[in-house]
Structure formats: C-alpha cells, structure tokens
C-alpha cells in the first residue's frame, strides 16, 4: 500500500502532500525570520544611537546580490516550467544557471564578510553588526541548503525524470517554492539592514 496523494492532488484540497508540507514549513520559517526582524525592531527602538546601514555595509555589492537572487528565482521557475513542457534539456540549463547565480551570491557574500572581518567589524562590535551577521548568516545557511537540494536534483536526483516524471516535476516545484522564499527573505533583509 502506498500513501495517497504523494503525486496526485487530493480533489477537495487541490494539493499533493509535499506541496502542502512545504507551505506549512515556509509558514514556520516566516515566524523564524519574523522573530528576528521583530528582534531587530526591538533592539533598534531601544537605543538612542543606531547606525545607518551604509556606515558599515556595501550597498553596491548587496544590490548586485539582490539582482543575482531575483534572477535565480526567475530561472528556478523556468526550470520547473520546462519540465511541465516536457523539455528536460532546458530544465538542466535553467537549473544550472540557478545554481551558478546562487554560488555567485555566496562568493559576493564571502567578500563582504571577509572585508568586514579584515577591518575589524565583528558581531561583537555593536548590535547592528550583531544582528546583521546573525540574520544574513542564517540566510546564507538557507542558501547553502537550497544549493545542496538544487544540485541534487540537477545531477544525481534527475534520474527520477525517466521513471516518474510527474513526481520529479513536483519535487522541482517544491524546491522552487523554498527558493522563492529564501529570495523573499533577502528582499526584506536588503532594505532593512542595508538601506534603512
């Protein structure tokens, strides 16, 4: 006996299990990052002096990173759409581009971090840098998690396309939802930490 609705939608909910699961997981993630953003507001409103982001952070680099992530979200959708259109080659291409952009984001982030450590801007320097490193660090962990999963379905996991294409397409949809969420978190982090 197999568990029902792992691939097909349940008629009355219109969802398959994995899709509902990832939405619930993302709801929980909203509360996690929501907690951190609330902490940011609480800390900032609790003190007289709070630096603006540009005093410590590199806005052009972060803008570049924002572009990387937004583009990677687009290519992520394209890779899923390609599967829906039965075009496995295009899926490989777009997934590859997504991975490339995600890695580019990490490289830029690496230069940002190492520059800060170099000039002595540490998490313990003040609470602005503390919350900056905590939030972006947690976000980077999410990016790394995403990269591992996207890579898995790009290379070894792609075998499933031949045996169970519908299930494989669903999996890419689920990864996509997660990836858009990670992207969205950055869309909040960028203005809040860098611009305000």
């Amino acid at each position: 006996m197999d568990i029902p609705y792992t691939v097909k939608n349940r008629p009355d909910t219109g969802l398959y299990n994995g899709k509902l699961g990832i939405w619930l997981f993302l709801a929980s993630e909203v509360m996690l990052f929501g907690g951190l953003f609330s902490a940011y507001i609480f800390l900032r409103t609790g003190v007289d002096q709070w630096p603006t982001g540009s005093e410590y952070l590199d806005i052009p680099l972060a803008t570049l990173n924002t572009l990387f992530l937004i583009t990677s979200s687009v290519t992520m959708v394209m890779s899923w759409a390609s599967l829906k259109l039965n075009d496995f080659k295009k899926f490989k291409l777009y997934s590859g581009v997504t991975l490339f952009l995600a890695l580019a984001f990490l490289v830029v982030k690496y230069f940002e971090y190492s520059h800060k450590f170099h000039v002595g801007y540490l998490p313990s320097t003040n609470n602005f840098l503390g919350i900056y490193f905590t939030m972006t660090g947690l976000h980077v962990l999410h990016i790394i998690g995403g990269i591992i999963v996207i890579f898995y379905f790009w290379m070894p996991g792609a075998k499933m396309w031949e045996v169970d294409p519908e299930r494989f397409t669903n999996r890419i949809e689920i990864v996509g939802l997660y990836w858009h969420f990670v992207d969205l978190v950055w869309i909040f982090i960028f203005p809040v930490l860098y611009l305000l």
Binding site: M1, I3, M31, S38, A39, S124, N127, I131
Partner: protein, 571 residues
C-alpha cells in the same frame, strides 16, 4: 514495499523504523524515561527544601560534596526539571507518542504523510535530549538559569547553558518536522467520508496543537540563536550597557535588552501551555464519551472553542511579564486577552462535565484518570485568573502560588490525562489488558499525593514565599509561618514517586501477559478500535481501509442493537 516487510531485521523494524506506530512507541518510551528522570530531580530538590544543609540520602553520593546539595546545583536541578518535564517529557508523550500512533489510525490513514520525516523528527528529538543532558557532566553542571533562561543571567552562566540552547534548537527542529507531518496527515490523508466535523476530538486537538508548535516555536528558535550568539560570539543582544557582574563592569558592547528574550520566550511559551493541555483535552474527551456510553455534549462547541483557544494563545504572552515595568495600556491589553482566553477553556471543561450528565458511567482505570483530570485542571485553571490580572499578579509573581498553579494544570492535569490515555489505548497497542486493581491503586494514591504536593504551594505562595529559594525559606521572613509545609510537600512527593511503582509494575506484568485478542475491548466507535486488529497490522494499519459514514461518538443510538455504532458502519 509490503512484500519485503516480513524480512526486516530487528534494527530496521524497531530502531530505524518509518512506521508511525513504532515511532509513536519510541517517542512514548523515551518520554516516559525522561518524565521519571525529571521527577527524580525534583525529589532530590524536595529533600533539600525540607531538610536544608543535610546530606541527601540514597543519591547523595552522586552529588559529591559529602552528599550536600549546593545552591548552584539546586538551581541546575530546578532548571533541568522544568525543561525535561515540558520539552523532553510531556510534549513528546502527548504529541509525539499519542499523536503519531493514533492520529493516522483515527482518520483511517495507512501511515503519516511523510514517514521518513517522522523518523527524522524522533531522532532529532532523541539527539537533542541527549545533548541537553550532557550538561550534567560539564564543569559548572547543567543549565542553571531556570527553564525560562532569562538573560543576562543565562548569558553569563556556565557551559551547561550552551548545550541547553543547542539541545533546544534541535528539539524545535524536531517539533517542526513533527507538526508539519501531523498537519499534512490530517488535511490530506483523511479517509473517504471523514469530513472535518466527523473527526474525533482527539484528532482536532492534535491538529490545533500542531499549528501552535509550527508557528510558536520558531521565535524561540530565533531567540535561542540570538542567545547562542551572545554566549559564543560575544554579541550583546540581551546584554544591557554598563552591566556589573560581581563588582566588575562587563566588557561587551551593550545596548541590548533582557526584555527582548522574555518577549520571544513567552511568545513560544504561552502557546506551549496549550500545547501541553490540548492533547490532554482530546484524550479525556475520547475516554469520557466511551465510558459514559453517550455522545459528547457540544461537539461543535468543543471544536470551535479549541480553535479559538489556539488563536488567542498567540496574543496573551505578556501576562507573564507584568512586573517588567510595562505601561498600563499594554498591561490592560494583555489582561483583556487573558480574561478572554479563559472563556473557551471554560466552554471545554463545561462540555466535558455535561457529557457526564445522564451517562451510565463505567469506572475503569482510564475513566478514573479522566474524571480526576476535570477538577484538577479546574483548580489549575481557576487559580490562574488572579495571575492574569496585573494588580494581583504583582503580589503573586514568582511565588510558590505560580508553581502550584501551573503544576495543577500540567501534573494532575495533563499527566493524569496522559496516564488515562496509556491505560485506555494499551490494549490497542499491545493486544493485552492492564491490571485494573493496580491501575486503581495508581490512580487513588497519585490523586492523593499530587494534591499533597501542590495544594500547600498555594498557601506558601499567598504568604509570599519566593519560588527560587534553595533553602526552602529558612532565612526568609515571609516563610516563617508556613515553612512547616515543606515537609508535607516533600513527603507527598516521595510517596507520589512510590505510587508510580504501581504503574511500572502494571506495565511490566501486562506486557508479559497473555494476548486477549479482543480488538475493541471498550466497545468504542472510532476507527482505531473498530477497524484494526490489536495491535494494528505492521504495514498499512488496516486490512481494508475503512470508509466513514457517521460522527465519532454515536453511543446508545436509539434503535441500534448495540450501545455503540462504529464510524465505519453504513447508515
């Protein structure tokens, strides 16, 4: 899959299993062991409280220092007692064990929606609990800043606090996996005909509990990460400027706020109260309907009250923080929401009481525990009202009154319900019956000694005895008139410990007893009793997946031959 089921080795069948029933039992055994351990810590503390500065007998050798319990270690035992009972004991038992085992059975599902995640959830919990317990072997002992881990104390505390935080982050991850699983299972895997208003109340309570865990726990994860940063990397999220510790000014950057932790912590920890109590409501409702042989009073009222309770539990958290100097406007808001949330609790309790009316009650062991639950939870709930009002709370805050209040909710409340659940479902899980005589002895002695432990706390608390005195109040002026109660409580606690021996013996001899082969010994109506063998089939639960035609509690339906009509019986 199903063909190679019979070839599984011991390890794949019982240890790395993905079967929800095996995982449920894994959760059950692990959490019961932790409950016993957490209770043991408290029995040591109660010796210190009754007889300060005398060597602790029996386990004294483990404590070092000539068997004495130094204040630091007393704090550590207190913090770990709270953490273990709640996060390693009651929640995994109520949600992990009962939820895993019975939610799929009651909704007619062959397993949970994500069996591998389910196993991952258990093992994350197990690893987190072990990591947390390693604190006992670290220099400075386990976490000693209370189960609430308030900074700045917790930030400057010994190493045990770091493993506490790491353990906590793992437990939160585990509960995230578990709650997603339960939610998807209930939404997606209900069998044909199992509409929302035909769900057994137990499934509803697990469903709402899962939502609370899903949404309330992550802010504590955020807080845990922030506190780890404070402790390990040296940030100052919770450290105010110019903090002086033992005469020295702290060198960290400062500018943080200890209150931030309290907000994030209680944003979890108040919904957590309902995580503790909702599954208990569910178990008690099942048992009361079954043993009164009549439908539950107000099924829909119960469901709506529970949904409303779950929603409200997110906006009452600051009633734990009245004495932090918050403004009267905010105080008024949280007092109002706190008074509002007591309404659905009363609706639920009233529905359970009314369900007894006119029933032909069977006084078996599970029913006794369920009946014991009602007044005990009532005492716990009603004594909470003064704490919800700022004016009264200022007097009572941090006294033994608070300890008495929440222990009445959790100990003779939730834990009685969990015992009821164990006695009720034991025949289903094992195919064997428990001993009624031992069960009744377990109940009556537990009821007596539970009250012996917790009732005097109200008296001490009203007199003003603070909750965190390692010497039981020897040097505390307010305690002078009520200090004799320490011995009453301590003896009750130890006797309560002895009373649990009835339970342990009962479990052991029942497990080695003969199989009765009865699939429905209580004549119940829900799917887990009517459509599965005892114990249910290893893979797939049901020989034929049942369809549902009726509500969950069709007892004594006029015109039927028997006094129970299964949910799966065609109309």
């Amino acid at each position: 899959m199903s063909t190679d089921y019979h070839k599984q080795s011991f390890w794949t069948k019982y240890i790395w299993s993905t079967d929800h029933k095996v995982i449920g039992i894994q959760y059950g055994i692990t959490s019961l062991v932790w409950l016993l351990f957490g209770f043991g810590l408290m029995m040591i503390m109660r010796y210190q409280l009754a007889y300060p500065d005398t060597p602790v007998p029996i386990v004294g050798a483990l404590l070092g220092d000539g068997g004495l319990l130094p204040p630091e270690m007393y704090n550590s035992l207190g913090a770990m007692h709270g953490t273990i009972m709640i996060f390693l004991g009651v929640v995994p038992l109520a949600f992990g064990a009962f939820g895993n085992y019975f939610v799929p059975l009651q909704i007619g599902a062959i397993d949970m929606a994500f069996p591998k995640l389910n196993a991952a959830s258990y093992w994350t919990y197990f690893a987190g609990s072990v990591i947390m317990a390693t604190g006992f072997f670290l220099p400075g002992g386990a976490a000693n800043s209370g189960w609430t881990s308030y900074p700045p104390l917790s930030v400057i505390a010994t190493m045990g606090q770091t493993v506490w935080l790491i353990g906590m982050v793992m437990l939160i991850t585990s509960s995230l996996l578990g709650s997603v699983n339960i939610l998807v299972t209930v939404i997606q895997l209900r069998t044909d005909g199992m509409t929302w208003m035909k769900l057994p109340i137990f499934v509803w309570t697990q469903f709402i509990t899962a939502f609370l865990l899903l949404l309330a726990f992550p802010p504590l994860e955020a807080a845990g990460v922030l506190q780890l940063m404070d402790r390990v990397v040296g940030t100052s999220f919770f450290m105010p400027s110019g903090l002086v510790v033992t005469g020295e000014v702290m060198t960290n950057a400062g500018g943080g706020s200890p209150l931030l932790w309290q907000h994030l912590f209680w944003f979890l920890a108040h919904p957590e109260v309902y995580v503790l109590i909702l599954p208990a409501f569910g178990i008690v409702a099942e048992i009361i309907a079954n043993n009164t042989r009549k439908p539950l009073a107000g099924y829909k009222a119960l469901v709506y009250a529970m949904v409303f309770l779950g929603f409200m539990s997110f906006i009452v958290w600051a009633h734990h923080m009245y004495i932090t100097g918050m403004g009267t406007t905010i105080g008024a808001f949280f007092q109002t929401t706190t008074m509002i949330i007591s309404i659905p609790s009363v609706v639920i309790l009233t529905a359970l009481l009314l369900s007894l009316w006119g029933g032909s009650i069977r006084f078996n062991t599970p029913m006794l525990f369920a009946l014991g639950f009602i007044p005990m939870f009532g005492i716990g709930g009603l004594t909470g009202l003064p704490l919800g009002l700022a004016a009264a709370d200022i007097h009572l805050h941090d006294t033994y009154y608070v300890i008495g209040h929440f222990h009445y909710v959790v100990a003779p409340g939730t834990i009685f319900a969990l015992f009821a659940g164990i006695y009720y479902w034991f025949p289903k899980m094992t195919g064997k019956k428990t001993n009624e005589m031992l069960g009744k002895l377990h109940f009556f002695f537990s009821l007596l000694f539970m009250n012996g432990v917790f009732m005097p706390m109200f008296i001490q608390g009203l007199a003003g005895v603070s909750r965190r005195l390692a010497d039981g109040g020897q040097t505390y002026a307010h305690a002078a008139d009520v200090i004799y109660l320490n011995e009453v409580m301590s003896y009750s606690a130890w006797l309560l410990g002895l009373a649990q021996i009835f339970f342990i013996i009962n479990m052991v001899i029942s497990l080695f007893g003969k199989k009765t082969g009865e699939k429905n010994p209580w004549d119940a109506t829900t799917l887990e009793w009517t459509d599965t063998t005892s114990p249910p089939l290893g893979h797939g639960n049901f020989e034929i997946v049942p369809k549902v035609y009726r509500g969950p509690y069709e007892y004594s339906v006029p015109g039927e031959k028997e006094d129970f009509t299964p949910q799966s019986k065609k109309v």
